[in-house]
């Protein structure tokens, strides 16, 4: 073994402080409420807003899980960047390939 740490040994309770019990439970309640809202709004005839509501609610739910359960709110900022990178890249994939499909002009047979 070669030279051990060059930095002074750090000791601490690792990880961010746990969120409160109430915080977790309230988040769960909010998630379940949003689920009911999502199911309910899907049954209403809202036209294109059905889609907006569905995906909007899903995004809010995902954000709740990310920030509270996965502790992005209190953990290292780098982790927030890493987490958003994955979603951002997915957005690029979807957006640019949609750019093709949406602007295609379908052709019919010539006669």
């Amino acid at each position: 073994m070669n030279a051990r740490p060059a930095r002074p040994q750090r000791t601490h309770r690792s990880g961010p402080r746990p969120p409160s019990l109430a915080g977790n439970l309230w988040t769960l309640a909010a998630l379940l409420l949003l689920l009911v809202l999502s199911a309910g709004s899907a049954l209403l005839r809202l036209g294109p807003f059905n889609e907006v509501a569905n995906l909007g609610i899903a995004a809010v739910k995902a954000l709740l899980v990310l920030t509270v359960f996965m502790r992005l709110k209190t953990d290292n900022a780098l982790l927030r960047i890493v987490a958003s990178t994955g979603f951002a890249w997915l957005a690029v994939l979807i957006a640019l390939s949609l750019a093709d499909v949406l602007t295609r002009q379908p052709l019919l047979a010539p006669w």
Binding site: L96, A99, T103
Partner: protein, 532 residues
């Protein structure tokens, strides 16, 4: 590889154990790098053999050497092996694995066991690919375009797809390891803007590997499922869209080109600064260029699909993004050239490789502009012009840089010097052999010879013969290092810790380094390339 007679103060990593078991269960990033090097060399020559068959067939216009089917399998095998089993792992998995911890002053990568596991995945993927070859091969081209690969090809597409799928995980885990290592294990004082450009390029590559490879893996799984069950989202009989496959495939495979070329740029930055004994010109611009290429590289995939049935407007968007990505590439070439200014330039073999790289990369990069221009691409795409273009980047660029890097760090890796005369000869031979092989292909493509042709019209023969002649020279030039490097392992002069008088952290430890890299964790006080 015995250096028993020497009794160095610290035992080197090579002397940690000699049995096969000590290698196959090692967690040392340096040993894993050597394991990778062995696999990669094997696949390089295997893929090269396939290329040799292809070039031999193309000496005459008629398909007289082998059947069309065999020819198709030969170029497919060449593509699959060279892309996934040589080019993508080449620099990151060997030089990157070996040097990254050394360059940032770490004792190992962050997850040594995962690192070894990546190598086993690489081998596993290789086994499937070889199995595919032994059972008769695959004939879809390395791009696996649907619906040919899903509904029409009768060859062993599944095996090839599984092989590539597995090796994809190897590359994901390597990338993950690098990202975490660079973030968490830098030595004290090694700030982000003191990182050598090679480390920056590894960081960018890791980013691309982690974010792009899953897309390929999933797309290949979709192909496998569609082949197994006969339905799927690419199936035109259901109204599915084969162009969708091309979107997903190139979302990975275009950034994959940057997986191949970014590390090469990193290596060359090290080589040129050491050869010219100068600070890199415009360090920060070089860093921004690396990151810029890695990020914008994800936005240009559609330039492979200008004539594929993509909408006219989407093509325009992809075209402008492709022009934009040429800017950081240009910055890099200009900065390398400017680094030579007022240098103290020696022409050791690594420097020759690096200069060769800059020349070939520039020719390859500039011809990329022709392909980025939609109106020109219509004529040039799917012809030999494209073949020449990407070989200039991937073979002229990446392989030159890889070999240059191998030569540069050979004394560090093995503790021995190779024959300088032979090495210079090989570098020069390679440069000329390469140009003779691939420059004629630009002309062939411009004249309209489509790629992946087993037979061709007699009017194309002159250029094809020239190209095949060049390939012979190139093949010889690639074989040379195999011999003189192997020779050096036993008979080469012993190398000191820093034979090139270079400045990176990796040169501050013994050659070969001790198992945990440094006697004392170094503290960094200045930026990289502290030459002048």
């Amino acid at each position: 590889m015995s250096t028993v007679e020497r009794v160095p103060p610290p035992r080197s990593y090579l002397e940690e154990g000699y049995g096969l078991r000590s290698w196959l269960t090692t967690h040392d990033h340096k040993r894993i790098a050597i394991l990778y090097a062995l696999g990669i060399t094997f696949f390089f020559f295997l893929g090269g053999l396939a290329a040799a068959l292809v070039r031999l067939e193309l000496v005459t216009p008629a398909g007289d050497l082998m059947s069309a089917e065999t020819y198709n399998k030969a170029f497919t095998f060449h593509g699959v092996v060279m892309v996934w089993f040589f080019l993508i792992p080449s620099i990151p998995a060997t030089l990157g694995n070996f040097l990254l911890p050394l360059m940032i002053g770490a004792r190992d990568v962050a997850f040594p066991r995962l690192n070894l596991f990546s190598w086993y995945l690489y081998v596993g993927g290789g086994v499937f690919t070889l199995l595919c070859l032994l059972l008769g091969g695959v004939d879809t081209g390395w791009t696996f375009y649907t619906p040919f690969s899903t509904l029409f090809s009768t060859s062993h597409v599944l095996l090839a797809v599984v092989g590539v799928f597995i090796v994809g995980f190897s590359s994901i885990f390597t990338g993950l390891n690098f990202i975490v290592t660079i973030h968490t294990l830098r030595a004290p004082g090694m700030t982000w803007f003191r990182l050598p450009l090679f480390v920056w390029s590894m960081y960018a590559v890791a980013l691309v590997m982690v974010l792009a490879t899953p897309v390929l893996a999933m797309t290949l799984s979709l192909i496998a499922l569609e082949r197994l069950f006969g339905v799927g989202i690419f199936d035109p009989a259901l109204g599915g869209d084969p162009v969708l496959f091309q979107h997903f495939f190139w979302f990975y495979s275009h950034p994959a080109v940057y997986i191949m070329i970014l590390p090469a740029m990193g290596v060359v930055s090290e080589l040129i600064t050491a050869g010219a004994r100068r600070r890199i010109f415009g360090y920060r611009f070089m860093v921004y260029a690396i990151i810029g290429i890695a990020v914008v590289g994800f936005l240009v995939w559609g330039h492979h699909m200008f004539v594929a049935g993509q909408s006219m407007y989407a093509s325009i968007v992809f075209s402008i993004l492709s022009f934009i990505i040429a800017v950081p590439s240009a910055i890099k070439v200009f900065n390398w050239t400017a680094t030579l200014y007022r240098g103290d330039i020696g022409f050791d073999a690594p420097m020759l490789y690096a200069l060769g790289f800059v020349g070939l990369f520039m020719l390859g990069g500039l011809t990329g502009l022709f392909l980025a221009a939609t109106a020109l691409d219509v004529n040039l795409t799917d012809t030999y012009f494209v073949v020449a273009h990407f070989h200039y980047i991937m073979v002229g660029g990446a392989v030159m840089a890889y070999l240059g890097g191998i030569h540069f760090w050979w004394p560090k890796i093995t503790g021995r010097m190779y024959s300088e005369a032979w090495a210079r000869f090989a570098a020069i031979l390679m440069f000329f052999g390469f140009n003779l092989t691939f420059f004629p292909q630009y002309i062939l493509g411009y004249e309209g010879m489509p790629r992946r042709y087993h037979e061709y019209l007699p009017q194309f023969q002159v250029w094809n013969v020239l190209s095949s002649a060049g390939a012979t020279i190139l093949g010889a030039a690639y074989l040379l290092p195999l011999f003189y490097l192997a020779w050096s392992l036993r008979h080469g002069a012993r190398a000191g810790p820093n034979p090139w008088d270079a400045r990176g952290l990796e040169w501050q430890t013994a050659s070969p380094p001790p198992p945990h890299n440094f006697e004392q964790t170094p503290t960094v006080t200045e930026g990289p390339y502290a030459y002048r």
